[in-house]
């Protein structure tokens, strides 16, 4: 299984938010790809376009099949989106939300119950299963949304900043669970992240987006270097191996804005 992106562009209100994004090699089955970049780079827009929620030009091929040719229902069975957060005032329980999602995807009742039980157990959410969502914290709601995505067992997982409301422990737990799921089922995971150390630690590939354009693409420790960080983020930073041999980002200082290379807006 693979996902190929060719000349993908997205316009919103007559402004080009994502421009001509093409990948040299397709995203491979069983891989987790980080989508990183500064605020306003177009990460969420790209994720939503991949999910088919925004009109786009260019080509998206999932296993050689154009995603845009798939009817909404069929597409939803193959592609799952995790939004940045679930709405706050919802009088539903996590169990109901997961069950509704699975039934909408054509999963049988028995199978749905088994999957929900397994995924809530795996994410440590069993005690929250019957509570109303409007009584949960932002981080807990984000975990419920992740549980809904994992329970659907899609071929393509699109996660829009799933760790933004989570503490350190849960950030690692989420990335671990997603990575494990993607590898076990040979699915494809794309995850928008702000924390580059998380990308270095958990992802197989990184796409760097800035000003709506793809700036770099490759293995995280090969792509993220001092020059790119200065150019894209305007920071002085270095990638160094930590005591466990893993690459780690160390930020030295914030640079004046003049160090930011002019990127297309």
């Amino acid at each position: 299984m693979s996902l190929q992106i060719t000349a993908l562009s997205v316009q919103r209100q007559r402004r080009c938010i994502v421009e001509d994004v093409s990948l040299a090699t397709p995203l491979a089955a069983g891989s987790l790809t980080a989508l990183v970049g500064p605020n306003g780079a177009g990460k969420s827009t790209l994720i939503h376009a991949l999910a088919g929620l925004l009109p786009s030009s260019g080509q998206l091929l999932l296993d050689e099949v154009p995603l845009s040719a798939l009817p909404l229902r069929q597409r939803s069975r193959q592609v799952a989106l995790l939004p940045q957060s679930l709405p706050q005032s919802v009088g539903l329980s996590p169990y109901e939300l997961l069950l509704g999602g699975l039934l909408a995807n054509g999963v049988g009742r028995r199978e749905a119950e088994t999957r929900i039980d397994a995924v809530l157990r795996r994410l440590g959410l069993l005690t929250l299963a019957m509570q109303r969502l409007d009584t949960l914290s932002g981080g807990q709601r984000q975990m419920v949304a992740l549980a809904q995505v994992l329970a659907r067992q899609p071929r393509l997982l699109l996660l829009d900043e799933p760790t933004s409301a989570l503490d350190l422990r849960w950030q690692l737990a989420v990335l671990g669970a997603v990575g494990e799921d993607v590898r076990q089922r040979s699915a494809i995971g794309v995850i928008a992240l702000h924390d580059l150390n998380l990308a270095l630690r958990a992802c197989d590939r990184v796409l760097v987006l800035a000003g709506g354009r793809l700036q770099a693409d490759g293995a995280p420790d090969a792509v993220l270097d001092a020059a790119l960080l200065r150019r894209v983020y305007g920071i002085s930073a270095r990638i160094e191996p930590c005591s466990q041999g893993r690459a780690q980002l160390i930020v030295d200082q914030l640079l004046p804005e003049t160090h930011l290379e002019a990127l297309p807006s």
Partner: protein, 356 residues
């Protein structure tokens, strides 16, 4: 054997079993609401200036020939249509309000949010003011017909704007509010153009009254209600998923634009049919869904019936109050629902804040 049984009883329930239990509790709440509604309807039938005792009413309902002719006319041609109209109109407004709050993702939405009530009032006012222009059509038919057509026209206009502009629920609410102000200005223009007799009729129509109830009217509203209820229940899971956000619902395979469009047409039909016979009755479509939400949550397979029952119960109780507040006089029910609805709504808000 007994040890095995004891272990089985002590075993923690699975999630599916706990969910099943929660649904049983909700079903019990629906049954209780239904029982409360039956009692309220009986009380409503028994309330009125002619002083028919409850025993005679029950006996008359079971064996109509046991009643005197005058009492039979009062029961079957006055009291029952009045009570049944409260039941079907309240239920229609409750169901419409629940769907409106979901598709607009706005707890303050009601069947009136998109200017439907203002449109119906304008239609009725036009019928009343311009009645000499159409002398061949009786005013009893013309007023509800114009109210109905104007309400549908306003919905059509909003759907057209939405199609042309695009956008989500926020755009829809903004269009609705703008349209409501325009329609209210036109109603004021009708007030200005009307003579004193027509003005009196417009004002009375806009107060909302069940006094115009008749069996054919009740039947029409009931059939519309049943049809729309069936359609709404078929969309129950889609509406439930819509509560998790439009993008999330779409990603789950819900055609959000289509569901929204279908709901709006259905809500317009329900509201227009209900209001064209009784005038403006506010707050039922706003408060009914809130009470239902507190009782059964937002799983729409339970929320929609609960909201329908709450709306019916609210209007039935308001009907009793409208006949009992001032002896010998029936206060227009629109005034009662507003007077009772405002404090009820405030209590809901304060209760929710205290719970938070």
């Amino acid at each position: 054997m007994s040890t095995t049984l004891a272990l089985a009883l002590d075993a923690p329930l699975s999630l599916a079993q706990r969910y099943h239990r929660a649904n049983l509790r909700r079903a019990a709440v629906l049954l209780l609401l239904g029982a409360a509604l039956c009692l309220s309807l009986l009380w409503d039938i028994g309330t009125g200036p002619s002083g028919l005792p409850l025993r005679d009413i029950v006996q008359g309902l079971l064996a109509p020939e046991s009643l005197e002719i005058a009492d039979r006319v009062i029961l079957f041609d006055v009291r029952l249509p009045y009570t049944c109209m409260a039941l079907v109109v309240g239920a229609a407004l409750g169901l419409a309000g629940a769907q409106m709050q979901t598709v607009l993702n706005n707890p303050l939405a009601s069947p009136f949010t998109l200017g439907l009530a203002a449109a119906a009032t304008l239609g009725a006012a036009m019928a009343i003011v311009f009645v000499p222009v159409l002398p061949w059509l009786p005013v009893e038919l013309l007023t509800p017909l114009c109210a109905f057509l104007m309400a549908l026209l306003s919905t059509g206009l909003i759907l057209l704007l939405l199609r042309w502009h695009g956008g989500g629920s926020h755009s829809l609410v903004l269009f609705g509010i703008a349209l409501m102000f325009a329609l209210e200005a036109l109603v004021s223009l009708m007030h200005f153009l009307a003579d004193s007799n027509a003005l009196e009729q417009i004002v009375f129509w806009s107060m909302g009254s069940l006094g115009r109830a008749s069996w054919p009217n009740v039947l029409l509203v009931a059939v519309t209600l049943l049809l729309c209820f069936g359609l709404a229940m078929r969309r129950a899971w889609a509406l439930t998923l819509l509560r998790s956000g439009e993008a999330q619902a779409e990603s789950l395979g819900v055609d959000v634009a289509r569901v929204r469009r279908a709901c709006l047409v259905e809500v317009s039909l329900l509201t227009a049919v209900a209001l064209c016979f009784v005038g403006t009755i506010g707050f039922v479509g706003l408060v009914g869904p809130h009470i239902a939400r507190l009782l059964v949550g937002e799983q729409h397979r339970y929320f929609l019936p609960a909201s329908t029952l709450c709306g019916a119960l609210m209007l039935s109780l308001a009907s009793i109050a409208s006949k009992s507040l001032i002896p010998g006089l029936i206060v227009p029910i629109g005034i009662v629902t507003a007077l009772v609805g405002v404090p009820a709504f405030m209590l809901l808000i304060l209760g929710r804040r205290a719970a938070a």
